[in-house]
């Protein structure tokens, strides 16, 4: 390990460490613009110059370009270096418009900091400033090129790191311009990172422009809850309003970046229509009165029909505390075991996924970045878990081969092999790969051709559908650190163990082979952990309501009417209930039907735990106390002219606190509820997490996967009793409908964001061009799908690179997908027709 001296202090660093990083370890922050840990060095800005006084490298050098080596003596304050840096910063400020007072970057601007640190104060230059015309880059990012200092961070992030090409450097010399060829919205769903990464104010967060000065913001470490990856964020609030969200570095989860869904998805917490007062049938009331009313009715139902007449329902956006409290109350009261997913098959898949992961298999996103071969089955990363696509891209950049098996048309920002295996045949495809992997680890040599033909048959593919499979198989054999990714939204339940088996087989003869499941929701893992064995499944629950055996339903931060397919049936069933209690921070349709409504806080207002896809328990701190944003409360006048002792709209409490109050009103002693404190509560409900009690919460979260046998860790779904959700394709000419997520416009919380609504696409359905041809359809046709639940109308888009016999529809709020009676759903061809015919 190289040992060197920087500013008279010695340090030993791992080989390959740049001098600029070695200095940072000593707490010496060498000025820099272009160097960024996540993007590496290019040596463009020349700001990091230091003097190498002794050792293998001599003289003035860029510290971001030189590897630390034994015997180096480096001075950051050497006269020559200081003078050099002063010159640089003076040059960089020549063209700066000096508009800091109206620049959103002000206060967090590296250029401001380095101007001061470089010692530049007096402007000597008399010439004209270079100016540019700014571009319209869409609704999320504002562009102000005159502030640019040409560090190439934006283009390196946009093109090299994330793989999109529509923004980059144009022109040369003093005219270098960073932008698009033409004005227009940025194509990358990661564009918001430009805001974080630009060291000046060229790119600023458009929705939050001019809302607050940086130093006035309340800032807190938070966690993104718009998908199961759990990227780390910083929440920024001002005047009782979340103003913006930024990426927060996490070495294990998201690195330096987040996606635009996570960055711009938060406005649901500020919406003027957000319910902030409790309600009963008699109208608005206090939180306490509503709890009392609910308790009274519950007691009555329990005593008349028995406690099993009360059912509870949560969701995968519940905090872990809420999920645990829900389960606890149900147990203590003898109510039905709570469920968390409206689709029983999905609930089973989540439990299967959680039960199949253990510490030796589960991998974080950071580990995906380091994989040398990736197999993804039934997962559409950009749409389901966007940052996973960036992690895969980093693997690709390091030379990994990547294969995606999925019947949907898949886009990823890098070249990969797409095999459009149908969901039904996915398992056999993975088994085929596993056999290949097994053969190779036996060292018996591989008869590629034989095995390939097997895969082709198993996967139900014509061999022409397999682009470059042989080269991929070779890469898979040769890999040292392969990773298997698997989705849960669209796959069959049996695909989850098939993916785990592939990972297990790959692990033979290798140090490591990872497994990563993308789960449906920020805390789907928590829901799976609670192992709601005994929960009948949502459909059965509805049957019980319809038959009258269940008479009360408590819905906690969940909107079944949003998630459930057969909407009309659900509306009818909910109408039959004697009591519907809803707790939520959203003004949801289900909430509007509630007999008793209790407003809850968002995770920006109450600190909460979420467990991400890899079983990492992370804590999002509250950023503000809650209450109606001043802008709304004051009717636009600021400061508000009416002074009052309380905070308007501060009624909502965390869902788990409300649940505890309900429990206490029903007679459960407080020491069994809030008195436990969050850790004990979690430990009591999830026994395997008891060991965490008393743990100090580390910043990178706690990986709660056990090292042991995964089966003991948490139980997978029990064997099916008769009903088969394997989804065998019915005989005849059918289309399988795949309901999918889109990056923007489908996820429950972020689709309420005004800025993202401006970015989302209009919904359309997709099918293979061959299928379209047979049906006589073409691109852009208006199609009607007639189902028992009603009709679904959409525009058709055709593709070649997707499976045949599938119709892909987004869960878009503008599409009537809830007319689908049940998933999986197979429709005969004659139910699909063009609208005019």
């Amino acid at each position: 390990m190289p040992r060197l001296i920087i500013d008279e202090r010695e340090i030993e660093v791992p080989p390959g460490t740049k001098v600029i990083d070695a200095a940072e370890r000593l707490g010496i922050l060498i000025p820099r613009f272009c160097y960024h840990e996540g993007l590496g060095a290019v040596g463009a800005c020349r700001m990091c110059a230091v003097q190498f006084v002794e050792g293998p490298v001599k003289g003035l050098q860029m510290s971001c370009m030189v590897d630390a080596q034994d015997g180096m003596v480096v001075s950051t304050s050497h006269e020559e270096a200081v003078e050099f840096r002063r010159f640089i910063i003076e040059c960089l400020m020549l063209n700066h418009p000096h508009d800091c007072p109206v620049c959103d970057e002000g206060g967090q601007c590296l250029l401001q900091d380095e101007t001061v640190s470089g010692g530049h104060g007096l402007r000597r230059y008399q010439g004209k400033k270079r100016t540019y015309r700014d571009q319209y880059l869409g609704e999320l990012i504002a562009h102000e090129m005159n502030r640019c200092i040409h560090c190439y961070r934006c283009s390196r992030f946009y093109q090299e790191f994330s793989g999109y090409r529509d923004l980059g450097p144009l022109q040369i010399a003093n005219r270098v311009f960073y932008g698009r060829f033409k004005d227009g919205p940025l194509e990358s769903p990661f564009s918001g990172n430009l805001v974080d990464i630009c060291p000046t104010g060229v790119y600023t967060d458009k929705p939050s422009r001019y809302k607050a000065r940086r130093w006035d913001l309340q800032r807190t470490p938070s966690v993104c809850i718009h998908c199961s990856l759990g990227c780390n964020t910083v929440a920024n609030a001002r005047y009782r309003e979340v103003v913006r969200v930024e990426a927060r570095f996490s070495g294990e989860v998201n690195g330096h970046f987040i996606c635009d869904r996570g960055r711009f998805g938060f406005p649901y917490t500020n919406l003027p229509g957000r319910p902030r007062t409790a309600r009963t049938a008699g109208g608005e009331c206090s939180q306490g009165e509503a709890v009392a009313a609910a308790a009274e009715k519950l007691r009555e139902i329990s005593s008349t029909f028995g406690p099993q007449a009360v059912a509870c329902f949560g969701s995968s956006r519940n905090s872990l505390e809420t999920q645990c409290m829900l389960k606890r109350i149900c147990r203590l009261q003898g109510w039905q075991v709570p469920g968390f997913f409206v689709d029983p098959a999905l609930e089973r898949r989540v439990r299967a996924a959680v039960s199949l992961l253990d510490a030796s298999a589960g991998v974080s996103m950071r580990e995906v970045e380091r994989a040398d071969c990736v197999v993804a089955a039934g997962v559409d990363p950009v749409n389901e878990a966007p940052m996973l696509a960036l992690a895969m891209r980093q693997a690709f950049r390091r030379g990994a081969e990547i294969l995606v098996a999925d019947p949907r048309p898949i886009f990823l920002p890098f070249p990969f092999i797409h095999v459009p295996v149908s969901m039904e045949r996915m398992d056999s495809f993975l088994e085929g790969l596993a056999r290949l992997a097994g053969e190779s680890s036996d060292g018996t040599g591989v008869r590629e051709a034989d095995l390939l033909s097997q895969i082709v048959q198993n996967g139900g593919l014509a061999s022409s559908d397999l682009p470059l499979p042989v080269s991929f198989c070779r890469a898979l054999f040769g890999s040292q650190n392969p990773v298997v990714l698997c989705g849960t939204e669209c796959v069959r339940e049996s695909t989850l163990p098939a993916a785990a088996a592939l990972a297990r087989d790959l692990r033979k003869g290798r140090d490591r082979a990872g497994l990563l499941y993308v789960l449906p929701g920020a805390n789907a893992f928590g829901a799976g952990l609670l192992n709601s064995q005994g929960h009948p499944g949502f459909s059965r629950l509805l049957e019980s309501v319809e038959s009258g055996s269940v008479r009360a339903l408590i819905v906690t931060e969940s909107d079944p009417l949003n998630d459930f397919c057969h909407r009309d049936r659900l509306l009818g069933t909910l109408g039959k209930l004697d009591l519907l209690v809803v707790m939520d921070f959203l003004d949801s349709e289900t909430a509007r039907m509630a007999h008793v409504f209790l407003p809850t806080t968002t995770h920006f207002e109450s600190g909460s735990c979420f467990v991400n896809h890899e079983g990492r328990l992370q804590y999002a701190e509250a950023v503000h106390h809650g209450g109606i944003p001043i802008e709304q409360a004051g009717g636009g006048s600021h400061p508000p002219r009416v002074y009052r002792g309380d905070i308007p709209g501060e009624g909502p409490k965390a869902a788990w606190v409300i649940l505890a109050e309900l429990g206490r009103t029903l007679g459960i002693p407080d020491r069994d509820l809030l008195g436990l404190g969050p850790w004990s509560l979690i430990g009591e409900e999830i026994p395997s997490l008891k060991r965490l009690e008393g743990t100090v919460f580390p910043p990178e979260g706690i990986r709660i996967l056990s090292d042991g046998d995964p089966v003991q860790w948490v139980q997978g779904p029990e064997a099916r009793d008769g009903e088969d959700d394997r989804g065998a394709v019915p005989p005849g000419d059918f289309f399988e409908i795949l309901l999918t997520h889109w990056t923007f416009g489908t996820e429950e919380l972020s689709s309420r964001s005004g800025p993202l609504q401006k970015v989302e696409k209009e919904p359309y359905g997709m099918m293979h061009s061959d299928d379209a041809r047979v049906l006589g359809f073409s691109e852009g046709d208006r199609i009607v799908l007639s189902l028992e639940g009603g009709q679904i109308r959409f525009r058709l888009s055709v593709a070649d690179r997707m499976g045949r016999g599938v119709l892909v529809l987004p869960r878009h709020r503008k599409l009537a997908w809830r007319n689908i009676p049940e998933m999986p759903c197979f429709v005969p061809r004659d139910r699909i027709r063009r609208e005019d015919s």
Binding site: V42, G43, A44, C45, R46, M47, A49, L60, M62, M65, F84, F87, I88, C91, L92, L94, N95, Y125, G127, H150, Y152, G168, P169, Q171, I172, A173, N174, R175, V176
Partner: protein, 602 residues
């Protein structure tokens, strides 16, 4: 002229050589070529003469040219209408078309053949050995003069023996850096890698330089052969020629040559029956000067923005697509076949102690004959200017020569006798560079010249480094202020300070050398800068804002030349009267200043 063809030029049969390089082609050389064939056919001489088109022979200024070989009769400025006369008078009647012969600038007499021309005589042509003599689009023509002998010999040696041969020749890279070629090959040979690449740098971005273009247009096979030898020596099986898109003819002829060589089995799998595979592709560059820099060039081939990266890692370790790569200049490669056939020792006997072989210069500026000249290293600047270039027009005095283009510097009159080689040029503050040679006389303003080069580099900076992007602009603004008489002596100091900063802080050669023209003109012509600053005067009368456009009656000889030159009639003059310029009408075009031989216009 001494041409180092590998086999002597074929003696049998007579040839008519029509130059169809870019310069001549643009003046209807294609029509001349066609007309010659017709006329010869009509004259019944088709069996006696072979009409051949060739690449450039160097003296572009006198083009289009037709050479009757033997004896080497050199017809200049030929027009298609002249062809019939040439055939009739020269070929049929055995005379000469006097009016098309070259006139010696000194003796003012007509010169019959190129052998006697002062322009060609002192030259020694190794690189340009075939240019102007063979048909660049016919591989057999190249083979006939000994082409592809070098690669045959190379394949009979081991790669390390080939490298030894090149090392013993002392050949240094002609792309500007002057790095020993054999040593460079050795690095790449020793560098581990499953795939290696070879690149021929034909980006030639220096303003005014066109030697690489001439070689690719006139003798593309010699470059291919040089590349094959290099590929074999370093173990590269794939090669690129990176040719700027502004060279369509060079591009086309390279493609034709590659095609022909592939058909013969000289390129492709197992070339010349050996087990060595070698393929060459041509990649077009979009004409950014910085793309001639090797790391930017490789980025450009990879489809990325052409922007330099720091070295190390050197291309020999991590080059194109991350693989070991060797990159050489066109002229460097063109030397290689000769070294392999005639031997490194033979080559090392040409030139000076540390600079071996010859160098091709693109001679331009205030000189009678501009064009390409190839001279042995060590030839004096005076010989190049006075003898080969025919001296400076209008009997003006030599002031300085600028070598190395925008990266180089000037050589003032006091060093007129300097032997041109790498060491001497560096010592006087200039560089060999890629071969630009611009001659100046007292009508050249050194501030203006520095400004010209700096505005070129300033515009061509890739924009990556702060100093190069902004420092050069700052320097240019200061220079402009000086040329407009708006600067102070402090500005001159600032200029020097900026020059040092730009040199020190830039990543690649472009920025590191951009201040050189400024520094060297300040070094030798500080008085001119001071004249601009202190006296608000441009001694050479070039910087328009400082010219008064006023006749100095004391100096005026009343000759009336200015009166005749003025395009807008702003000058009044009568015999025996000094001229007078009407400032209202004057458009400041400087025609009068250029016309006045007595420096009488202020």
């Amino acid at each position: 002229m001494h041409t180092e063809t590998i086999s002597p030029l074929p003696a049998k049969g007579r040839q008519l050589l029509v130059c169809r390089g870019t310069g001549c082609e643009s003046q209807k050389a294609n029509l001349i070529f066609g007309a010659l064939k017709d006329e010869i056919f009509k004259a019944g001489l088709a069996d006696d003469y072979k009409v051949k088109f060739t690449g450039c022979h160097g003296l572009c200024q006198m083009g289009p040219t037709v050479i009757v070989q033997p004896p080497g009769t050199f017809y200049c400025n030929v027009a298609p209408e002249d062809v019939a006369e040439i055939v009739k008078v020269d070929l049929v009647e055995g005379g000469k078309v006097d009016r098309l012969l070259f006139i010696d600038p000194q003796s003012k007499e007509r010169v019959l053949t190129y052998h006697e021309m002062a322009y060609f005589n002192p030259q020694r042509r190794i690189v340009l050995r075939n240019c102007g003599f063979i048909n660049p689009e016919d591989i057999d023509d190249y083979i006939e003069v000994g082409g592809y002998e070098g690669i045959r010999r190379a394949l009979s040696l081991t790669p390390l023996e080939v490298i030894e041969e090149v090392k013993s020749s002392g050949l240094r890279g002609r792309g500007g850096g002057g790095f020993p070629t054999g040593t460079k090959w050795e690095f790449c040979n020793k560098s581990p890698g499953d795939q290696k690449y070879l690149i021929c740098n034909a980006d030639e971005g220096d303003p005014g330089a066109f030697m690489d273009r001439a070689v690719l247009e006139g003798d593309p096979h010699s470059v291919l052969e040089g590349m094959m030898i290099a590929g074999y020596a370093i173990g590269a099986t794939k090669a690129y020629i990176y040719c700027r898109a502004e060279y369509p003819l060079a591009h086309e002829r390279s493609l034709i040559a590659i095609d022909q060589a592939t058909q013969r089995g000289y390129l492709g799998k197992g070339i010349f029956g050996s087990d060595f595979d070698f393929e060459i592709k041509v990649k077009l560059g979009a004409g950014a000067f910085v793309c001639g820099e090797e790391t930017a060039l490789m980025a450009s081939i990879e489809g990325k923005r052409g922007m330099p990266m720091p070295r190390p890692p050197f291309p020999a370790v991590k080059g194109l697509f991350g693989k070991p790569t060797n990159i050489n200049n066109v002229e460097t490669f063109a030397n290689i076949p000769v070294i392999l056939t005639k031997g490194g020792d033979w080559f090392a006997r040409v030139g000076t102690e540390k600079s071996k072989g010859t160098k091709v210069f693109a001679l331009a500026g205030k000189i009678n004959y501009s064009g390409l000249v190839e001279i042995p290293m060590g030839t004096s600047l005076r010989q190049i200017v006075d003898e080969i270039g025919g001296g400076i027009p209008n009997k003006r005095k030599f002031k300085a020569a600028q070598t190395g283009g925008p990266s180089g510097g000037c050589i003032p009159a006091e060093h007129f006798d300097i032997p041109m080689d790498y060491e001497n040029l560096t010592q006087v503050g200039s560089i060999m560079g890629s071969g630009g040679l611009i001659v100046t006389d007292e009508t050249t303003c050194m501030v203006d010249m520095a400004k010209f080069f700096l505005s070129f580099t300033q515009k061509e900076s890739c924009g990556k480094c702060v100093q190069c992007r902004l420092g050069t602009k700052n320097m240019l603004e200061t220079l402009t202020a000086i040329s407009e008489g708006k600067a102070t002596m402090e500005d001159l100091d600032l200029l020097l300070e900026l020059a040092q900063d730009v040199k020190a802080g830039s990543l690649c050669g472009l920025g590191q050398t951009a201040p050189n023209p400024v520094l060297s003109t300040i070094r030798y012509f500080r008085d001119e800068y001071e004249a601009h600053i202190l006296r608000k005067e441009c001694p050479a009368r070039v910087c328009r804002s400082l010219i008064k456009f006023q006749v100095n009656e004391a100096a005026c000889t009343m000759c009336g030349s200015c009166f005749k030159a003025c395009p807008v009639g702003a000058i009044t003059w009568q015999k025996k009267q000094p001229a007078h310029i009407d400032k209202e009408k004057c458009i400041k075009c400087r025609s009068c200043i250029l016309a006045c031989k007595f420096h009488a216009i202020d």
